[in-house]
């Protein structure tokens, strides 16, 4: 049993980290009232930038390369999400349509530039991805140490810490209150002097940064290179985590961990007797099936922010 856990827990953390980060981005955006179907595209851009930056500047930054890469990916992700922000906030575009376009555009640009720069459909493998480490001090805790703190990617813990930061920001600061107010009732928020458009811009940029981070972490821990098949559905799974987690940062984190569990079970299940009997397809579709059940109200009611998806046009009722 202990050995089974020891193989499952690090894998869960490993698979969940990109989902948690991207889902947090989704929470910020949707809480402010902007639907973000484009999370998938933001992850694609993050993965692309993370890998290309890593490959290009590995000689400059040495051991720090993966860290600098994910920061750059965050920045580019934020800039890229500006397109979604401008279309859906300033131009009142249909937010779902704009999100779909973000997904197409990100993949198009990523693969186009890969072919132009590398002359083939995928990049080389990065020399310096993230490696697993043992967390000092904590690894010596009996029982828990080997389970949670040995052979772990630091990025997984960064994701979990960021989830708590996001919870604090959204629920314990005036900024968070304003952001949520804008997503629930923009007119009332506007009347109280909150700048609706500015709050929404900030929220979408945050989702771009976190989506970019999630994509880069995925690329530098799991994939190690970039091609059209690097990000296939992780962004949509993060979106599912946002909804399954009821638009709450910690809920989204829990959902992402759970989806990570489902994914890792489909990977390691062959080695564990009880799980080997479950057809893999069940584990593959579990996250999506559960999200549908959650939305249908079988697992507690999931209510979206009231103004989610509705452009705010000043002066209209």
């Amino acid at each position: 049993m202990f050995e089974a856990l020891q193989s499952i827990i690090p894998t869960v953390l490993f698979y969940s980290a990109p989902l948690i980060l991207t889902a947090l981005g989704g929470v910020f955006s949707e809480r402010s009232g902007v639907v973000n179907i484009g999370l998938e595209g933001l992850m694609v851009i993050g993965a692309f930038v993370g890998i290309v930056f890593n490959l290009t500047f590995v000689d400059v930054f040495g051991a720090w390369t993966p860290w600098v890469s994910i920061v750059v990916a965050m920045a580019v992700g934020a800039i890229f999400s500006l397109i979604h922000a401008v279309a859906s906030i300033t131009f009142y575009a249909n937010q779902v349509v704009s999100g779909v376009a973000i997904n197409m555009l990100a993949l198009g640009i990523g693969v186009y530039l890969t072919k132009v720069w590398y002359g083939k459909g995928q990049t080389d493998m990065v020399e310096r991805p993230f490696y697993t480490t043992d967390i000092p001090v904590l690894e010596h805790i009996p029982f828990l140490g080997p389970l949670f703190f040995e052979g772990i990617y630091v990025t997984s813990y960064i994701a979990i810490i960021l989830a708590f930061v996001a919870w604090y920001v959204l629920y314990k600061t005036p900024f968070g209150l304003r952001l949520r107010a804008v997503g629930e009732h923009p007119m009332a928020a506007d009347t109280n002097g909150i700048k609706v458009e500015r709050m929404r811009y900030i929220a979408v940029l945050l989702s771009g940064a976190l989506g970019g981070l999630g994509g880069a972490v995925f690329a530098l821990t799991i994939a190690s290179n970039f091609s059209h098949a690097t990000i296939v559905g992780q962004g949509f799974m993060a979106l599912a985590a946002v909804i399954f987690g009821k638009w709450h940062p910690l809920g989204a984190m829990g959902a992402a961990l759970f989806f990570g569990l489902a994914q890792s079970l489909s990977v390691v299940s062959a080695g564990i007797p009880v799980l080997a009997d479950i057809p893999q397809v069940i584990l593959l579709i579990a996250p999506y099936l559960l999200t549908i059940l959650a939305l249908a109200g079988f697992i507690g009611r999931a209510d979206a922010p009231r103004a989610n998806g509705v452009p705010y046009i000043k002066g209209s009722r």
């Binding site: 279309a87 575009a93 779902v96 197409m104 555009l105 397809v281 579709i285 999506y288 999200t291």
Partner: protein, 349 residues
């Protein structure tokens, strides 16, 4: 005012396409390619000879159908992002019937086509039901249904239709849409009779929406569900019906691939993108049956022509995906185009 709206309805898509193509030219310039060569290659790739024309028509066929799938649901105010999954299950069902049943063509072919439509309709039914009865947003449900379709279909191909193989056998000739005659006049391209079905489907959509009381109710629910309810229409029924018919169109698109183009179904590592492209087609076609046919043809041309760009001009095919994405942005942000046009008009006076 209405004539103004109609004018905008035509101008916005046309301007969006022009800006999209110009942006594509700029991207080619920036990445060190010659845009004239690039677009010449695209033209040759789509219309160069009878073979490419045949392939362009083949590629247009499912795009028209997925465009109709999205557009039809949109008439009732629903966003069918699930065309992707509906295509996959339609493809599977059509091929399954094509493989499993032994019958003369006059029964077998219609049965296989209907199976595709029914499977797609079923895949649209659940999101419609949840929307109608529980008010759950159809966008999320259809996205989730896409993945379920993908994984379940792969599982069925591996374990039911074959024994752990990645491609099924070829369907019986009696279920095939392929045509020796069409192939012989297009130098053995994969063009098939599906284009007639796609055009007929567009006619059906126009007929239902514009000429029947069903269509009137569907549109009415899309405009204002409360008013429709007050007027005695069954809102739930109309929402479900709209998703089912939309799903059936997408299922037909899958059947076209299964019965016409490939004659088989293979394990997919990712989506076909036919459904997502359908969103673009519907949007560009203003959710109107005739517009969808034109938009489907445009995207069919772009996508087929893209195949020639790497060899003839060194431009990666993904340029076309970027152009399509930009076109969607421009159409979706039509507010700004309308604003600019109005501004332009005023200053002209």
């Amino acid at each position: 005012m209405t004539s103004n709206n109609k004018l905008f309805g035509v101008l916005v898509p046309v301007i969006s396409v022009i800006i999209g193509l110009l942006a594509g030219a700029v991207i080619m310039l920036l990445s060190g390619h010659n845009p004239v060569e690039g677009y010449a290659a695209l033209w040759a790739g789509a219309f160069g000879d009878s073979y490419t024309i045949g392939e362009t028509i083949r590629r247009t066929t499912p795009l028209i159908l997925t465009g109709l799938a999205v557009a039809f649901a949109f008439k009732t105010g629903l966003f069918n992002i699930g065309a992707e999954g509906q295509v996959i299950v339609g493809w599977l069902a059509a091929v399954w019937v094509g493989l499993a049943i032994d019958a003369p063509m006059i029964i077998h072919l219609p049965l296989a086509i209907l199976a595709g439509a029914a499977a797609g309709g079923l895949w649209g039914f659940l999101p419609g039901l949840l929307k109608a009865k529980l008010g759950v947003h159809e966008v999320i449900i259809t996205i989730m249904m896409n993945y379920i379709a993908l994984f379940v279909t792969n599982e069925i191909i591996r374990n039911v239709l074959t024994e752990q193989e990645t491609t099924t056998g070829t369907i019986a000739d009696t279920a095939s849409l392929a045509s020796d005659w069409l192939q012989s006049i297009t130098f053995y391209s994969r063009v098939h009779y599906g284009i007639l079905i796609a055009l007929f489907a567009a006619f059906i959509m126009w007929f239902i929406i514009e000429r029947t009381t069903y269509g009137y109710e569907l549109k009415s629910v899309g405009f204002n569900s409360h008013a429709s309810n007050y007027a005695g229409m069954n809102v739930s029924k109309n929402i479900i019906l709209s998703m089912v018919i939309g799903g059936a169109f997408a299922g037909l698109a899958g059947a076209m691939e299964g019965l016409g183009t490939y004659g088989t179904i293979s394990v997919m590592s990712g989506f076909t993108n036919l459904g997502f492209d359908g969103i673009a087609v519907a949007l560009l076609g203003s959710n109107n049956a005739f517009g969808v046919v034109l938009a489907g043809l445009l995207f069919g041309v772009l996508k087929e022509g893209a195949g020639e760009m790497p060899t003839a001009a060194g431009v990666p095919t993904e340029l076309v995906d970027i152009i399509i994405a930009l076109i969607i942005f421009f159409v979706a942000s039509s507010y700004i185009i309308r604003w600019a046009l109005l501004r332009f008009k005023k200053e002209g006076k």
